[in-house]
């Protein structure tokens, strides 16, 4: 037995709801991917800022060292040669030292260890600048001895080497930080890639689900259409059979009707023929019911009695005709006509009289013949003969 095919509307509603649910999930995944990706990008940008920050610290520290070296060399050149350009160059270089140190301090203000190193760098640079200032002052005031004393007491390369060591320490620390920050940045980039690709895969799976759902729905619709078609075919076959049966019955009915019509015509003809026969009889003919009421008469009755047919129909026979008792016989207890009908036997040639419209009696001879229908007496025929030798 086949399961009933689901209603198309119900099926469509369910499928639409499922597809909408799938698309809602896909949208949610897309939004989630977008949010996570944007956050990762923001983190990545922040990591990138930190990488730039580290590079900036290294750059500023190196610039400090470089500016101190340039300024130191320029001041020494001025002291030796008296070249004013060297003095200006020295002053500008030391000015740059302050600028770079200020930037380095600002960059490391939230990193205590590095900030301490920058402070140490600041101290060393300040000492070097102070020494250069003293040297310049001695040179400008024309005190060669003082210049010589200052140069003799100068740690020279050692002081610069100390400065360089501090800068290198700081740079190494920053390089370690750089490695960490670069790793963080890399991991965040990897996380972003993973997030995006995972989202793409999830969405592809969901889209596959939607495709499956749609194809399943189409297949279900096709099955439903096939079942419907099959049912229609069966129904059409039944309709065809029924139509053929009805057509045949109708044709049979038409034939039967035709036959009945012919039979009716034949019976009518027979009745008319019988009527003509009865009407042509000169004797008075009465057709009686079982209760002896007149149901039919022939024209001879009308002619003799003067009554019209409608005056006698449903009237008792005794109104126009009656049996006459035998001269020597006693009056019967039961009407002989009724008894003949009850007993189903003929009553022949009995004396009787017929009374017309005016009350005039006419002698007649009466015969009764019971009418049978399948052995059952349903009425009778009374014939009154008014002429003849036995009256």
């Amino acid at each position: 037995m086949k399961a009933p095919a689901p209603s198309t509307d119900v099926m469509r509603d369910r499928t639409v709801r499922r597809i909408l649910a799938f698309f809602a999930v896909i949208s949610a995944v897309l939004v989630a991917i977008a949010v996570v990706s944007v956050r990762n990008i923001q983190r990545s940008a922040a990591s990138s800022d930190w990488v730039n920050h580290t590079h900036a610290v290294i750059l500023e520290v190196n610039d400090v060292l470089s500016a101190v070296r340039v300024g130191d060399a320029a001041v020494l050149t001025y002291v030796v040669t008296g070249d004013p350009q060297s003095r200006v160059a020295g002053r500008e270089a030391f000015s740059d030292v302050d600028e770079h140190l200020a930037a380095a301090k600002a960059l490391t203000r939230n990193e205590p260890a590095q900030h301490e190193e920058v402070a140490r760098l600041d101290t060393l640079a300040a000492k070097r600048i102070e020494f250069s200032g003293e040297l310049l002052a001695a040179r400008q005031s024309g005190q060669p001895d003082a210049v010589r004393v200052l140069l003799a007491s100068d740690a020279g390369e050692e002081a610069l080497a100390d400065l360089q060591r501090t800068a290198e320490n700081l740079t190494n620390e920053e390089m370690n930080l750089l490695a960490d920050r670069d790793r963080t940045s890399f991991l965040q980039a990897q996380m972003t890639r993973w997030t995006v690709w995972s989202g793409v895969v999830v969405n592809l799976i969901l889209l596959g689900g939607v495709v499956w759902l749609i194809s399943d729905d189409i297949a279900a619709r096709r099955r439903a259409a096939a079942v419907l078609q099959e049912a229609n075919d069966v129904l059409e076959a039944r309709v065809r059979e029924r139509t053929a049966s009805l057509t045949a019955a109708n044709q049979q009915l038409v034939i039967e009707n035709l036959e009945r019509s012919w039979l009716g015509q034949s019976q009518e003809h027979q009745i008319r023929y019988n009527q003509l026969i009865i009407d042509s009889i000169s004797d008075l003919v009465f057709v009686l019911t079982k209760a002896l009421n007149i149901s039919r008469i022939n024209p001879a009755v009308v002619h003799l009695t003067g009554f019209e047919s409608q005056d006698l129909i449903h009237q008792p026979l005794s109104r126009v005709a009656r049996l006459l008792a035998e001269p020597r016989a006693a009056a019967p207890l039961v009407n002989p006509i009724a008894r003949a009908l009850v007993e189903g036997r003929d009553l022949r040639d009995q004396p009787a009289e017929v009374e017309d419209r005016n009350g005039k009696a006419t002698p007649a001879r009466l015969s009764v013949y019971p009418l049978r229908d399948r052995d059952k007496v349903v009425g009778g025929v009374v014939i009154l003969r008014t002429g003849g030798p036995n009256l």
Binding site: A46, S48, D49, W50, N52, H53, H55, A56, L59, R91, E92, S95, D98, E99, A102, A103, K105, A106, L107, R109, N110
Partner: protein
């Protein structure tokens, strides 16, 4: 001759003369005294005088007269001169030094009254003043974005031609929370 044709000819000649006069006036070198003596000086008109200047890097701040005479300089020369001139025209200005992620730096002169800064790189454009927020961070963001780069630090500094010395007064670090910026409290109070 058709009188309308004659009028058109005279009008064309007049336009050519006016254009030539404008070009000659524009090409004529001006001095710092000219700038200071201009009583109708505005940031916009100041910037309009530098449209034909060439760019060249110098490791120091040029003497203002040399800068104007040679018509060659960089963002630092331009910003410092704008600060110097406009301050004397009752404008409130700030010199901003933005260090980019690549290590190079860019200087601009922010003018409070016009809510924007003068940038040497904008001298040839019709829009010579770049609109920006007041904070150092906002200015640095906008200035660095014009190079399609990130920045690391931005500082407010002062400069005096006679001392020839840049003094950094406030420095903002990009990685620091904006609420910890040295000018954050000041800006919040002023708003």
């Amino acid at each position: 001759m058709n009188p309308w044709g004659q009028r058109l000819r005279w009008a064309g000649l007049g336009a050519i003369c006016a254009g030539l006069a404008f070009t000659v006036a524009g090409l004529r070198a001006f001095t710092l005294s000219d700038l200071l003596g201009d009583s109708r000086m505005t940031p916009k008109s100041f910037a309009g005088r530098f449209w034909d200047f060439d760019y060249q890097v110098f490791p120091y701040v040029q003497d203002p007269d040399v800068f104007l005479k040679t018509k060659t300089g960089n963002c630092q020369d331009y910003a410092i001169m704008a600060d110097y001139v406009l301050k004397r025209k009752t404008y409130q200005t700030r010199l901003i030094h933005v260090v980019l992620a690549c290590g190079s730096a860019h200087d601009v002169c922010y003018v409070d009254q016009v809510k924007g800064y003068l940038d040497f790189n904008n001298r040839v454009y019709a829009r010579t003043i770049q609109r920006s927020g007041r904070t150092i961070r906002e200015i640095a963001d906008r200035a660095a974005a014009s190079f399609d780069q990130d920045w690391t630090t931005a500082s407010v500094y002062t400069y005096d031609y006679t001392e020839d010395f840049k003094h950094l007064t406030l420095t903002v670090v990009k990685t620091d929370p904006p609420s910890e910026d040295p000018d954050a409290a000041t800006e919040f109070a002023s708003r």
